[in-house]
């Protein structure tokens, strides 16, 4: 709670140092990395940011017929409690700022799935003056083609992400080595949010 202190002299109340130590103990010494990967893989909660019309299929992907909750994914309301974002289609210039703000509000480790042609290379709106490519705004892990993709594709993307996470141990690496660096952003925040109010 009080500012930085040299490593090893953690006194009661310094959360950062205590967290670092706990992280070292649990992941380095106790080798809980696989458990972390397993837990994170089966608890990918996408944040409820509907950027565009792929939201229809996103909603259908959690409908009784496809029910992605079976993979442990539960669309959740606030960004603070989630760890995944599914970019559902076009991101307009106005929404891009919101997307970045939501992404920044999410706790690490976090992942992004780009859904639909618009989220990849603009789709049918490739030459529109009011859209941005989502991979310029946030670092994307899995891409789903289609306009809109089928709900199974969303499930397939989640499975793919789970597989990647457990194979490459992404989540535990994030936790152990610190977070995903910010330099992966293609577009700086000033470009996106210069006009934002709120």
């Amino acid at each position: 709670m009080s500012g930085e202190s040299p490593e090893g002299r953690a006194y009661v109340g310094n959360i950062n140092v205590s967290a670092r130590r706990a992280r070292k103990l649990l992941l380095g010494d106790l080798k809980l990395g696989k458990l972390v990967d397993w837990g994170t893989a089966f608890s990918l909660w996408p944040v409820h940011l509907t950027t565009s019309c792929c939201g229809c299929e996103f909603a259908a992907a959690w409908s009784p017929r496809f029910d992605n909750e079976q993979h442990g994914a539960l669309p959740w309301i606030g960004p603070r409690q989630t760890n995944m974002i599914i970019i559902e289609g076009t991101v307009s210039k106005k929404m891009a700022c919101a997307l970045r703000l939501v992404w920044e509000q999410m706790p690490q480790p976090k992942f992004a799935i780009a859904m639909g042609a618009c989220a990849l290379d603009g789709g049918i709106f490739y030459n529109s003056y009011n859209i941005v490519r989502p991979w310029q705004v946030v670092p994307v892990d899995v891409y789903i083609p289609g306009c809109p993709p089928r709900p199974e594709s969303v499930a397939r993307a989640i499975i793919e992400l789970q597989r990647k996470m457990r194979k490459k141990q992404i989540a535990s690496k994030f936790v152990e080595e610190g977070w995903r660096p910010d330099k992966e952003y293609v577009m700086p925040k000033e470009d996106l949010c210069s006009w934002w109010r709120g």
Binding site: L35, V36, Q70, G72, G78, Q105, Q108
Partner: protein
């Protein structure tokens, strides 16, 4: 048996320790894990889908909560710059402790050697402790320095005024009937099938609705109503602290359910506790917990059937209908006492 082992066993079944660690912490936590899983699966079943599954296909996704817990454990805990850090962190922890604390006043058996803390006013103490934790929801909402958190906290504050009285009056109607504030005596008075809930359904109904109001269960899930105030007072919480918040809410409901099971549903009856640890303590507590779990399941089921009331409607219902109902229940209890049934 060597004396050391028997000493260890004695320590384990030493009533205060058993009560606090096993019944007060571990068993409720286990039940909460089960109930959250049950809630998701029930909702899924009513909604014609399957719910959590692939995490452990053989036990129908029973490990889902463990996975969620693992994620929460290792997620970054964000403390925004604008929050008041000390209350922001402390509020959920205190709320969690206060949610479980009422268990110290709750006996799970009539066998006096296994009372946690023997006291004559255990019902009053339990109710008093239960009603402390909402204060810290308001503190959490205030400390978060977020508009939605503040609104959520204020909603909780509004609702406290409504449900506090209902809960008090409806639970105290048991004292009115049995003439005692001691939970043991209240349960023992219900022996022989004279469950207060059956003889005085008005008070039971009022208590159930009061519990729904106070634990923000459907249809009164207003403080965390996600479509206006995102996550209510918990909007800014992330990682493990948010998990603690959620756990505290369920533990509170668990404690309320235990209290209802004791006061209205005959406690450990129809089982009659005997001497010794197993028959004098273990089985009666399991009976109580089963009753409480069934109540929790009913509360969970309502999520699948109801939407949520508006804030003013909830207050309206609470004051205009449920409070008179609770008072009527109290009157009925007095009548029962006058007739000499207890």
């Amino acid at each position: 048996m060597s004396p050391i082992i028997s000493d260890i066993i004695k320590i384990i079944i030493w009533p205060p320790l058993w009560q606090l660690i096993v019944l007060g912490l571990l068993l409720p936590l286990g039940v909460v894990v089960f109930i959250i899983w049950f809630e998701r699966k029930t909702a899924a079943r009513v909604q014609r889908r399957i719910g959590p599954y692939h995490v452990s296909p053989r036990i129908a996704g029973g490990l889902q909560l463990v996975a969620d817990l693992m994620r929460y454990m290792f997620q970054e805990i964000i403390i925004p710059k604008t929050v008041d850090v000390a209350p922001f962190i402390m509020a959920p922890l205190i709320a969690l402790i206060l949610s479980i604390l009422p268990v110290v006043a709750m006996p799970f058996t009539s066998n006096a050697s296994y009372f946690p803390i023997g006291m004559r006013y255990s019902l009053i103490v339990a109710l008093a402790l239960i009603t402390l934790s909402p204060i810290f929801v308001i503190v959490a909402g205030w400390a978060s320095n977020n508009k939605f958190s503040l609104i959520g906290g204020m909603r909780e504050a509004y609702l406290i005024t409504a449900y506090e009285l209902i809960v008090m009056v409806s639970f105290l109607s048991a004292s009115a009937a049995t003439g005692s504030f001691d939970l043991v005596k209240i349960v023992e008075a219900q022996a022989g099938g004279k469950w207060l809930g059956l003889l005085n359904p008005l008070a039971l109904l009022a208590a159930l609705i009061g519990v729904l109001l106070s634990t923000s269960g459907f249809p009164f899930e207003i403080p965390e109503s996600e479509h206006e105030v995102v996550a209510g007072a918990y909007t800014e919480y992330s990682g493990l602290v948010y998990g603690i918040n959620m756990g505290a809410a369920y533990l509170k409901r668990m404690v309320y359910s235990i209290l209802i099971a004791l006061v209205f549903l005959g406690g450990w009856r129809p089982y009659t506790p005997g001497p010794g640890f197993v028959s004098g303590y273990l089985i009666p507590s399991i009976v109580v917990f089963i009753k409480a779990t069934i109540l929790m399941m009913i509360f969970s089921f309502l999520r699948a059937v109801y939407g949520r009331y508006r804030l003013d409607q909830a207050l309206d219902i609470a004051w205009k209908y449920i409070f008179p109902l609770a008072v009527a229940g109290f009157g009925l209890s007095l009548a029962l006492a006058y007739l000499g049934i207890y």
